[in-house]
Protein backbone atom coordinates (compact mmCIF):
# COMPACT_ATOMS: atom_id res chain seq x y z
CA UNK A 1 0.00 0.00 0.00
CA UNK A 2 1.56 3.24 -1.08
CA UNK A 3 1.16 6.60 0.61
CA UNK A 4 -1.44 7.60 -1.98
CA UNK A 5 -3.68 4.64 -1.09
CA UNK A 6 -3.43 5.63 2.55
CA UNK A 7 -4.38 9.21 1.76
CA UNK A 8 -7.25 8.03 -0.42
CA UNK A 9 -8.73 5.90 2.38
CA UNK A 10 -8.29 8.80 4.78
CA UNK A 11 -10.25 11.16 2.54
CA UNK A 12 -12.85 8.51 1.67
CA UNK A 13 -13.50 7.79 5.36
CA UNK A 14 -13.68 11.50 6.11
CA UNK A 15 -16.22 12.04 3.34
CA UNK A 16 -18.46 9.11 4.23
CA UNK A 17 -18.39 9.55 8.01
CA UNK A 18 -19.06 13.28 7.85
CA UNK A 19 -21.82 12.78 5.27
CA UNK A 20 -23.46 10.32 7.67
CA UNK A 21 -23.12 12.85 10.48
CA UNK A 22 -24.77 15.53 8.32
CA UNK A 23 -27.96 13.50 8.05
CA UNK A 24 -27.97 12.06 11.55
CA UNK A 25 -27.13 15.20 13.55
CA UNK A 26 -29.83 16.76 15.75
CA UNK A 27 -28.62 20.29 15.31
CA UNK A 28 -29.00 21.99 11.95
CA UNK A 29 -25.95 24.26 12.40
CA UNK A 30 -23.81 21.25 13.27
CA UNK A 31 -25.04 19.48 10.15
CA UNK A 32 -23.87 22.46 8.11
CA UNK A 33 -20.43 22.27 9.73
CA UNK A 34 -20.14 18.53 9.07
CA UNK A 35 -20.76 19.41 5.43
CA UNK A 36 -17.45 21.29 5.56
CA UNK A 37 -15.60 18.02 6.17
CA UNK A 38 -17.57 16.29 3.41
CA UNK A 39 -16.67 18.93 0.83
CA UNK A 40 -13.05 18.87 1.94
CA UNK A 41 -12.86 15.08 1.63
CA UNK A 42 -14.35 15.15 -1.88
CA UNK A 43 -11.83 17.78 -2.91
CA UNK A 44 -9.01 15.59 -1.58
CA UNK A 45 -10.26 12.71 -3.75
CA UNK A 46 -10.23 15.03 -6.78
CA UNK A 47 -6.58 15.82 -6.08
CA UNK A 48 -5.74 12.11 -6.02
CA UNK A 49 -7.49 11.72 -9.38
CA UNK A 50 -5.13 14.34 -10.85
CA UNK A 51 -7.84 16.98 -11.22
CA UNK A 52 -6.12 19.83 -9.38
CA UNK A 53 -8.22 22.64 -10.83
CA UNK A 54 -11.50 20.88 -10.07
CA UNK A 55 -10.32 20.21 -6.51
CA UNK A 56 -9.54 23.86 -5.83
CA UNK A 57 -12.81 24.90 -7.48
CA UNK A 58 -14.60 22.50 -5.14
CA UNK A 59 -13.08 24.34 -2.15
CA UNK A 60 -13.70 27.78 -3.66
CA UNK A 61 -17.32 27.19 -4.69
CA UNK A 62 -18.59 24.74 -2.09
CA UNK A 63 -16.74 25.77 1.07
CA UNK A 64 -16.09 29.44 0.25
CA UNK A 65 -19.49 29.99 -1.37
CA UNK A 66 -22.31 27.54 -0.83
CA UNK A 67 -21.45 26.48 2.72
CA UNK A 68 -21.08 30.10 3.85
CA UNK A 69 -24.42 30.96 2.23
CA UNK A 70 -25.99 27.98 3.98
CA UNK A 71 -24.54 29.01 7.35
CA UNK A 72 -25.74 32.57 6.88
CA UNK A 73 -29.21 31.29 6.02
CA UNK A 74 -29.30 29.07 9.09
CA UNK A 75 -27.88 31.68 11.47
CA UNK A 76 -30.00 34.60 10.30
CA UNK A 77 -33.29 32.71 10.37
CA UNK A 78 -34.79 33.32 13.78
CA UNK A 79 -35.45 30.30 15.99
CA UNK A 80 -34.27 27.81 13.41
CA UNK A 81 -31.93 26.23 15.94
CA UNK A 82 -34.80 25.57 18.32
CA UNK A 83 -36.83 23.61 15.79
CA UNK A 84 -36.91 19.93 16.64
CA UNK A 85 -35.65 17.88 13.77
CA UNK A 86 -37.58 14.67 13.27
CA UNK A 87 -35.28 11.74 12.80
CA UNK A 88 -37.67 8.80 13.24
CA UNK A 89 -38.53 6.42 10.45
CA UNK A 90 -41.68 7.29 8.57
CA UNK A 91 -43.01 5.62 5.44
CA UNK A 92 -40.29 3.01 5.53
CA UNK A 93 -41.60 0.90 2.63
CA UNK A 94 -41.53 3.61 -0.11
CA UNK A 95 -38.15 4.77 1.18
CA UNK A 96 -36.68 1.27 0.96
CA UNK A 97 -38.06 0.81 -2.56
CA UNK A 98 -36.77 4.19 -3.72
CA UNK A 99 -33.31 3.73 -2.25
CA UNK A 100 -33.17 0.13 -3.52
CA UNK A 101 -33.95 1.21 -7.09
CA UNK A 102 -31.34 3.99 -6.92
CA UNK A 103 -28.73 1.63 -5.48
CA UNK A 104 -29.49 -0.97 -8.15
CA UNK A 105 -29.18 1.62 -10.90
CA UNK A 106 -25.87 2.91 -9.54
CA UNK A 107 -24.38 -0.56 -9.08
CA UNK A 108 -25.47 -1.65 -12.56
CA UNK A 109 -23.98 1.46 -14.13
CA UNK A 110 -20.78 0.90 -12.18
CA UNK A 111 -20.41 -2.73 -13.21
CA UNK A 112 -21.58 -2.44 -16.82
CA UNK A 113 -19.62 0.61 -17.89
CA UNK A 114 -16.53 -0.27 -19.92
CA UNK A 115 -13.92 1.64 -17.97
CA UNK A 116 -10.76 2.63 -19.75
CA UNK A 117 -8.17 0.28 -18.36
CA UNK A 118 -4.99 1.25 -20.17
CA UNK A 119 -2.58 3.37 -18.21
CA UNK A 120 -2.51 6.92 -19.45
CA UNK A 121 -0.19 9.54 -18.19
CA UNK A 122 -1.90 11.84 -15.70
CA UNK A 123 -1.37 15.40 -16.95
CA UNK A 124 0.83 17.51 -14.67
CA UNK A 125 -1.57 20.41 -14.85
CA UNK A 126 -5.15 20.60 -15.97
CA UNK A 127 -5.93 24.32 -15.81
CA UNK A 128 -4.31 25.09 -19.20
CA UNK A 129 -6.19 22.33 -21.05
CA UNK A 130 -9.43 23.18 -19.25
CA UNK A 131 -9.16 26.83 -20.25
CA UNK A 132 -8.52 25.85 -23.87
CA UNK A 133 -11.53 23.52 -23.95
CA UNK A 134 -13.80 26.13 -22.38
CA UNK A 135 -13.18 28.67 -25.14
CA UNK A 136 -13.13 26.21 -28.05
CA UNK A 137 -15.35 23.10 -27.80
CA UNK A 138 -17.63 24.23 -24.97
CA UNK A 139 -17.76 27.93 -25.70
CA UNK A 140 -21.55 28.04 -26.19
CA UNK A 141 -22.30 26.38 -22.84
CA UNK A 142 -19.70 28.56 -21.17
CA UNK A 143 -21.22 31.79 -22.51
CA UNK A 144 -24.77 30.66 -21.72
CA UNK A 145 -23.76 29.91 -18.13
CA UNK A 146 -22.17 33.34 -17.94
CA UNK A 147 -25.42 34.97 -19.09
CA UNK A 148 -27.42 32.89 -16.59
CA UNK A 149 -25.19 34.03 -13.73
CA UNK A 150 -25.43 37.65 -14.91
CA UNK A 151 -29.24 37.42 -14.91
CA UNK A 152 -29.17 36.01 -11.37
CA UNK A 153 -26.85 38.84 -10.28
CA UNK A 154 -29.07 41.56 -11.80
CA UNK A 155 -32.15 39.91 -10.28
CA UNK A 156 -30.58 39.85 -6.82
CA UNK A 157 -29.51 43.49 -7.10
CA UNK A 158 -32.97 44.64 -8.21
CA UNK A 159 -34.66 42.71 -5.39
CA UNK A 160 -32.34 44.27 -2.83
CA UNK A 161 -33.07 47.76 -4.23
CA UNK A 162 -36.84 47.34 -4.16
CA UNK A 163 -36.87 46.50 -0.46
CA UNK A 164 -34.92 49.64 0.35
CA UNK A 165 -37.41 52.02 -1.32
Amino acid sequence: MSIYDLIFYLFATLTIVSALMVVSSDNIVRSAFYLLATFFGVSGIYVLLGADFVAVTQIMVYIGGILILLLFGVMLTSNITNVEIKKGTAKILPAVIGIGVLLGALVSVMTRTKWKLQLTEIPQTTSFELGKLLITDYVLIFELLGILLLIALIGAASMARREQE
Partner: protein
Protein backbone atom coordinates in the same frame (compact mmCIF):
# COMPACT_ATOMS: atom_id res chain seq x y z
CA UNK B 1 13.34 20.69 -1.25
CA UNK B 2 11.06 17.66 -0.88
CA UNK B 3 13.22 15.54 -3.17
CA UNK B 4 16.24 16.38 -1.07
CA UNK B 5 14.43 15.40 2.14
CA UNK B 6 13.18 12.17 0.58
CA UNK B 7 16.78 11.29 -0.28
CA UNK B 8 17.90 11.89 3.30
CA UNK B 9 15.12 10.09 5.13
CA UNK B 10 14.14 7.54 2.51
CA UNK B 11 10.45 7.93 3.31
CA UNK B 12 7.97 10.18 1.55
CA UNK B 13 5.74 10.60 4.60
CA UNK B 14 8.55 11.74 6.92
CA UNK B 15 9.93 14.05 4.24
CA UNK B 16 6.60 15.73 3.58
CA UNK B 17 5.91 16.22 7.28
CA UNK B 18 9.40 17.66 7.82
CA UNK B 19 9.02 20.03 4.86
CA UNK B 20 6.25 21.84 6.74
CA UNK B 21 8.47 22.44 9.80
CA UNK B 22 10.44 25.44 8.44
CA UNK B 23 7.21 27.22 7.44
CA UNK B 24 5.61 26.60 10.82
CA UNK B 25 8.78 27.76 12.59
CA UNK B 26 8.88 30.82 10.36
CA UNK B 27 5.28 31.74 11.24
CA UNK B 28 5.88 31.43 14.99
CA UNK B 29 9.10 33.46 14.89
CA UNK B 30 7.53 36.01 12.56
CA UNK B 31 4.53 36.44 14.87
CA UNK B 32 6.78 36.92 17.91
CA UNK B 33 8.67 39.61 16.02
CA UNK B 34 5.60 41.22 14.40
CA UNK B 35 3.70 41.59 17.68
CA UNK B 36 6.70 43.35 19.21
CA UNK B 37 7.02 45.52 16.09
CA UNK B 38 3.35 46.40 16.19
CA UNK B 39 3.62 47.52 19.79
CA UNK B 40 6.77 49.51 19.09
CA UNK B 41 5.31 51.13 15.95
CA UNK B 42 2.11 52.08 17.74
CA UNK B 43 4.07 53.41 20.70
CA UNK B 44 6.40 55.57 18.63
CA UNK B 45 3.49 56.92 16.58
CA UNK B 46 1.85 58.05 19.82
CA UNK B 47 5.12 59.45 21.19
CA UNK B 48 5.58 56.66 23.74
CA UNK B 49 8.36 54.10 24.13
CA UNK B 50 6.36 50.89 24.23
CA UNK B 51 7.69 47.72 25.92
CA UNK B 52 11.20 48.42 27.26
CA UNK B 53 11.78 46.01 30.16
CA UNK B 54 12.26 42.49 28.76
CA UNK B 55 15.45 42.33 26.74
CA UNK B 56 16.92 45.08 24.55
CA UNK B 57 14.10 47.58 23.91
CA UNK B 58 11.65 44.87 24.95
CA UNK B 59 12.39 42.41 22.12
CA UNK B 60 11.67 39.44 24.37
CA UNK B 61 8.36 40.92 25.56
CA UNK B 62 6.25 38.84 23.16
CA UNK B 63 8.10 35.67 24.12
CA UNK B 64 7.25 36.35 27.75
CA UNK B 65 3.63 37.10 26.79
CA UNK B 66 3.47 33.91 24.77
CA UNK B 67 4.76 31.82 27.69
CA UNK B 68 2.19 33.49 29.92
CA UNK B 69 -0.57 32.75 27.40
CA UNK B 70 0.39 29.06 27.30
CA UNK B 71 -0.12 28.74 31.07
CA UNK B 72 -3.54 30.40 31.07
CA UNK B 73 -6.58 28.39 32.04
CA UNK B 74 -8.50 27.08 29.06
CA UNK B 75 -11.99 28.40 29.78
CA UNK B 76 -14.95 26.71 28.10
CA UNK B 77 -18.33 28.14 29.13
CA UNK B 78 -21.02 25.58 29.91
CA UNK B 79 -23.40 26.84 27.20
CA UNK B 80 -20.78 26.55 24.43
CA UNK B 81 -21.00 23.96 21.74
CA UNK B 82 -17.92 22.14 23.05
CA UNK B 83 -16.75 20.20 19.99
CA UNK B 84 -17.09 23.09 17.54
CA UNK B 85 -15.71 25.58 20.08
CA UNK B 86 -12.57 23.47 20.52
CA UNK B 87 -11.97 22.77 16.85
CA UNK B 88 -12.64 26.26 15.42
CA UNK B 89 -9.24 27.91 16.24
CA UNK B 90 -7.42 25.06 14.55
CA UNK B 91 -9.66 25.24 11.46
CA UNK B 92 -8.83 28.94 11.17
CA UNK B 93 -5.11 28.42 11.70
CA UNK B 94 -4.76 25.41 9.39
CA UNK B 95 -6.62 27.08 6.52
CA UNK B 96 -4.22 30.03 6.84
CA UNK B 97 -1.13 27.82 7.16
CA UNK B 98 -2.13 25.72 4.13
CA UNK B 99 -1.85 28.75 1.82
CA UNK B 100 1.85 29.04 2.74
CA UNK B 101 2.53 25.84 0.73
CA UNK B 102 2.25 27.88 -2.46
CA UNK B 103 4.58 30.75 -1.50
CA UNK B 104 8.00 30.78 -3.20
CA UNK B 105 10.31 31.87 -0.37
CA UNK B 106 13.43 31.40 -2.55
CA UNK B 107 14.07 29.71 -5.88
CA UNK B 108 14.84 26.43 -4.06
CA UNK B 109 12.38 26.58 -1.15
CA UNK B 110 8.81 26.46 -2.35
CA UNK B 111 6.26 24.07 -0.85
CA UNK B 112 4.58 23.27 -4.13
CA UNK B 113 4.96 24.90 -7.51
CA UNK B 114 1.57 23.46 -8.51
CA UNK B 115 -0.08 25.15 -11.43
CA UNK B 116 -3.12 26.18 -9.37
CA UNK B 117 -1.00 28.45 -7.11
CA UNK B 118 -2.86 31.69 -6.57
CA UNK B 119 -6.26 30.08 -7.12
CA UNK B 120 -5.47 27.72 -4.23
CA UNK B 121 -4.50 30.66 -2.02
CA UNK B 122 -7.76 32.49 -2.85
CA UNK B 123 -9.84 29.36 -2.23
CA UNK B 124 -8.36 28.71 1.19
CA UNK B 125 -8.49 32.33 2.30
CA UNK B 126 -12.21 32.08 1.51
CA UNK B 127 -12.45 28.85 3.51
CA UNK B 128 -11.20 30.67 6.64
CA UNK B 129 -14.71 32.14 6.87
CA UNK B 130 -16.10 28.71 7.76
CA UNK B 131 -13.76 28.52 10.76
CA UNK B 132 -14.61 32.07 11.86
CA UNK B 133 -18.35 31.39 11.67
CA UNK B 134 -17.76 28.17 13.61
CA UNK B 135 -15.97 30.08 16.37
CA UNK B 136 -18.65 32.76 16.53
CA UNK B 137 -21.57 30.38 16.63
CA UNK B 138 -20.04 27.86 19.06
CA UNK B 139 -19.20 30.64 21.54
CA UNK B 140 -22.95 31.14 22.11
CA UNK B 141 -22.38 34.82 22.74
CA UNK B 142 -24.05 37.62 20.81
CA UNK B 143 -20.86 39.66 20.41
CA UNK B 144 -19.00 36.67 19.04
CA UNK B 145 -21.79 35.90 16.60
CA UNK B 146 -22.02 39.52 15.40
CA UNK B 147 -18.26 39.66 14.99
CA UNK B 148 -18.11 36.46 13.01
CA UNK B 149 -21.02 37.41 10.75
CA UNK B 150 -19.42 40.79 10.06
CA UNK B 151 -16.09 39.15 9.37
CA UNK B 152 -17.67 36.63 7.00
CA UNK B 153 -19.64 39.30 5.11
CA UNK B 154 -16.51 41.41 4.81
CA UNK B 155 -14.26 38.60 3.58
CA UNK B 156 -16.86 37.32 1.10
CA UNK B 157 -17.48 40.78 -0.43
CA UNK B 158 -13.83 41.79 -0.65
CA UNK B 159 -12.98 38.50 -2.35
CA UNK B 160 -14.55 39.88 -5.54
CA UNK B 161 -12.17 42.85 -6.13
CA UNK B 162 -9.27 40.61 -5.06
CA UNK B 163 -10.26 37.99 -7.60
CA UNK B 164 -10.69 40.60 -10.35
CA UNK B 165 -7.20 42.03 -9.78
CA UNK B 166 -5.74 38.52 -9.56
CA UNK B 167 -7.38 37.78 -12.94
CA UNK B 168 -5.73 40.89 -14.38
CA UNK B 169 -2.34 39.73 -13.15
CA UNK B 170 -2.91 36.19 -14.42
CA UNK B 171 -3.62 37.64 -17.87
CA UNK B 172 -0.34 39.53 -17.71
CA UNK B 173 1.80 36.56 -16.65
CA UNK B 174 -0.15 33.78 -18.35
CA UNK B 175 0.16 31.39 -15.41
CA UNK B 176 -1.48 30.68 -12.06
CA UNK B 177 1.66 29.33 -10.43
CA UNK B 178 3.28 31.73 -7.98
CA UNK B 179 6.74 30.28 -8.65
CA UNK B 180 6.42 30.87 -12.41
CA UNK B 181 5.05 34.39 -11.82
CA UNK B 182 8.18 35.17 -9.80
CA UNK B 183 10.56 33.76 -12.41
CA UNK B 184 8.81 35.89 -15.06
CA UNK B 185 10.05 38.99 -13.20
CA UNK B 186 13.74 38.07 -12.94
CA UNK B 187 16.90 39.97 -13.84
CA UNK B 188 15.97 43.67 -13.57
CA UNK B 189 13.56 45.65 -11.49
CA UNK B 190 11.77 47.07 -14.54
CA UNK B 191 10.52 43.54 -15.14
CA UNK B 192 8.53 43.76 -11.91
CA UNK B 193 4.76 43.67 -12.09
CA UNK B 194 4.31 47.27 -10.98
CA UNK B 195 6.38 48.37 -14.01
CA UNK B 196 4.35 46.35 -16.48
CA UNK B 197 5.94 42.94 -15.92
CA UNK B 198 7.81 41.08 -18.66
CA UNK B 199 5.96 42.91 -21.47
CA UNK B 200 8.27 44.86 -23.79
CA UNK B 201 7.90 47.95 -25.95
CA UNK B 202 4.99 50.40 -26.09
CA UNK B 203 2.70 48.05 -24.12
CA UNK B 204 4.93 48.42 -21.08
CA UNK B 205 4.52 52.19 -20.92
CA UNK B 206 0.76 51.90 -21.37
CA UNK B 207 0.54 49.23 -18.65
CA UNK B 208 2.32 51.10 -15.83
CA UNK B 209 -0.62 53.32 -14.65
CA UNK B 210 -3.06 50.40 -14.76
CA UNK B 211 -0.68 48.18 -12.83
CA UNK B 212 -0.53 50.91 -10.20
CA UNK B 213 -4.35 50.99 -9.98
CA UNK B 214 -4.37 47.19 -9.72
CA UNK B 215 -1.82 47.35 -6.92
CA UNK B 216 -3.85 49.88 -4.91
CA UNK B 217 -7.07 47.88 -5.32
CA UNK B 218 -5.37 44.61 -4.35
CA UNK B 219 -3.75 46.28 -1.35
CA UNK B 220 -7.05 47.69 -0.04
CA UNK B 221 -9.08 44.55 -0.64
CA UNK B 222 -6.52 42.17 0.88
CA UNK B 223 -6.18 44.49 3.87
CA UNK B 224 -9.94 44.24 4.32
CA UNK B 225 -9.81 40.46 3.94
CA UNK B 226 -7.30 40.17 6.76
CA UNK B 227 -9.65 42.17 9.05
CA UNK B 228 -7.08 44.83 9.91
CA UNK B 229 -7.73 48.48 10.70
CA UNK B 230 -9.27 50.52 9.03
CA UNK B 231 -11.39 47.45 8.23
CA UNK B 232 -11.38 45.82 11.67
CA UNK B 233 -15.16 45.92 12.15
CA UNK B 234 -15.26 42.22 13.10
CA UNK B 235 -13.41 42.98 16.31
CA UNK B 236 -14.17 46.64 16.87
CA UNK B 237 -13.39 46.85 20.58
CA UNK B 238 -15.79 49.70 21.28
CA UNK B 239 -18.86 47.77 20.14
CA UNK B 240 -18.16 44.03 20.14
CA UNK B 241 -15.69 43.41 23.04
CA UNK B 242 -13.28 41.46 20.81
CA UNK B 243 -15.38 40.00 18.02
CA UNK B 244 -15.45 36.30 17.27
CA UNK B 245 -12.65 35.44 19.69
CA UNK B 246 -14.23 37.06 22.76
CA UNK B 247 -14.79 33.75 24.55
CA UNK B 248 -11.40 32.25 23.81
CA UNK B 249 -8.47 32.09 26.19
CA UNK B 250 -5.02 30.56 26.44
CA UNK B 251 -3.63 28.52 23.58
CA UNK B 252 -6.83 28.67 21.53
CA UNK B 253 -6.78 32.45 21.58
CA UNK B 254 -3.14 32.39 20.51
CA UNK B 255 -4.16 30.25 17.53
CA UNK B 256 -6.44 33.07 16.31
CA UNK B 257 -3.65 35.51 16.96
CA UNK B 258 -1.13 33.41 15.00
CA UNK B 259 -3.48 33.12 12.06
CA UNK B 260 -4.18 36.86 12.01
CA UNK B 261 -0.49 37.72 11.84
CA UNK B 262 0.23 34.86 9.42
CA UNK B 263 -2.49 36.37 7.23
CA UNK B 264 -0.77 39.76 7.38
CA UNK B 265 2.46 38.33 6.06
CA UNK B 266 0.55 36.30 3.47
CA UNK B 267 -1.08 39.37 1.93
CA UNK B 268 2.28 41.16 1.96
CA UNK B 269 3.82 38.17 0.20
CA UNK B 270 1.04 38.05 -2.42
CA UNK B 271 1.52 41.76 -3.17
CA UNK B 272 5.27 41.26 -3.42
CA UNK B 273 4.93 38.27 -5.74
CA UNK B 274 2.49 40.01 -8.08
CA UNK B 275 3.94 43.51 -8.19
CA UNK B 276 7.43 43.62 -6.68
CA UNK B 277 9.26 40.67 -8.15
CA UNK B 278 8.83 38.12 -5.35
CA UNK B 279 12.24 36.92 -4.14
CA UNK B 280 14.11 38.70 -6.95
CA UNK B 281 16.74 41.22 -5.97
CA UNK B 282 16.41 44.66 -7.56
CA UNK B 283 20.18 44.96 -8.17
CA UNK B 284 21.44 41.47 -9.00
CA UNK B 285 23.08 39.13 -6.51
CA UNK B 286 26.23 39.38 -4.48
CA UNK B 287 26.56 35.60 -4.84
CA UNK B 288 26.83 35.95 -8.61
CA UNK B 289 29.45 38.66 -8.25
CA UNK B 290 31.62 36.66 -5.85
CA UNK B 291 30.89 33.31 -7.51
CA UNK B 292 29.40 31.78 -4.36
CA UNK B 293 26.42 29.73 -5.40
CA UNK B 294 24.92 29.00 -1.98
CA UNK B 295 24.67 32.69 -1.14
CA UNK B 296 21.99 33.37 -3.78
CA UNK B 297 19.06 31.58 -2.04
CA UNK B 298 19.93 33.34 1.23
CA UNK B 299 19.87 36.71 -0.54
CA UNK B 300 16.57 35.76 -2.17
CA UNK B 301 15.12 34.86 1.22
CA UNK B 302 16.35 38.22 2.54
CA UNK B 303 14.66 40.14 -0.29
CA UNK B 304 11.41 38.17 -0.04
CA UNK B 305 11.12 38.61 3.73
CA UNK B 306 12.31 42.20 3.54
CA UNK B 307 9.71 43.22 0.97
CA UNK B 308 7.00 41.23 2.77
CA UNK B 309 7.90 42.84 6.10
CA UNK B 310 7.70 46.27 4.49
CA UNK B 311 4.03 45.68 3.67
CA UNK B 312 3.41 44.33 7.17
CA UNK B 313 4.91 47.59 8.44
CA UNK B 314 2.62 49.60 6.12
CA UNK B 315 -0.37 47.70 7.56
CA UNK B 316 0.71 48.71 11.08
CA UNK B 317 1.33 52.28 9.97
CA UNK B 318 -2.21 52.48 8.53
CA UNK B 319 -3.63 50.98 11.70
CA UNK B 320 -2.35 53.87 13.80
CA UNK B 321 -3.14 56.53 11.18
CA UNK B 322 -6.65 55.88 9.91
CA UNK B 323 -9.91 55.63 11.90
CA UNK B 324 -12.21 52.64 11.44
CA UNK B 325 -14.74 52.81 8.59
CA UNK B 326 -18.47 52.35 9.23
CA UNK B 327 -20.32 49.27 7.94
CA UNK B 328 -22.08 51.18 5.15
CA UNK B 329 -18.80 52.86 4.15
CA UNK B 330 -17.16 49.44 4.08
CA UNK B 331 -19.74 48.13 1.64
CA UNK B 332 -19.67 51.36 -0.42
CA UNK B 333 -15.89 51.13 -0.83
CA UNK B 334 -16.19 47.55 -2.01
CA UNK B 335 -19.24 47.59 -4.30
CA UNK B 336 -19.29 51.15 -5.62
CA UNK B 337 -15.59 51.86 -6.02
CA UNK B 338 -13.27 48.85 -5.92
CA UNK B 339 -15.32 46.42 -8.02
CA UNK B 340 -16.09 48.80 -10.94
CA UNK B 341 -12.50 50.11 -10.98
CA UNK B 342 -11.08 46.59 -10.84
CA UNK B 343 -13.42 45.52 -13.62
CA UNK B 344 -12.50 48.37 -15.97
CA UNK B 345 -8.86 47.81 -15.13
CA UNK B 346 -9.26 44.17 -16.15
CA UNK B 347 -10.82 45.19 -19.48
CA UNK B 348 -8.19 47.82 -20.28
CA UNK B 349 -5.25 45.60 -19.37
CA UNK B 350 -6.78 42.88 -21.53
CA UNK B 351 -7.00 45.31 -24.48
CA UNK B 352 -3.42 46.50 -23.99
CA UNK B 353 -2.17 42.91 -23.88
CA UNK B 354 -4.03 42.15 -27.14
CA UNK B 355 -2.45 44.97 -29.16
Amino acid sequence: MQNYLIEIFGSEIVAYILATVPVLAFIVVFVLFAVWLERKVSAHMQDRLGPMRVGWHGVLQTLADFLKLLQKEDIVASANDKALFNIAPYVVFVTTLITYTMLPFTSIFIGSNADVGIYFVLAFSGAVVAGILMAGWASNNKYSLYGSLRSAAQIVSYEIPTALVVLTMIMLYGTLSLGDITTAQTSQFWNWGIFGGPVLGIGKILLVPFMFVAFIILFISTLAESNRTPFDLPESESELVAGFNTEYSGIKFSMFFLSEFANMFLIGAILVIFFFGGYNSPFGYLGNLLGIEWLIPIEQLFWFLGKGMFFVFVDMWLRWTLPRVRVDQLMTICWKYLIPYAFFNLLIVGLILLI
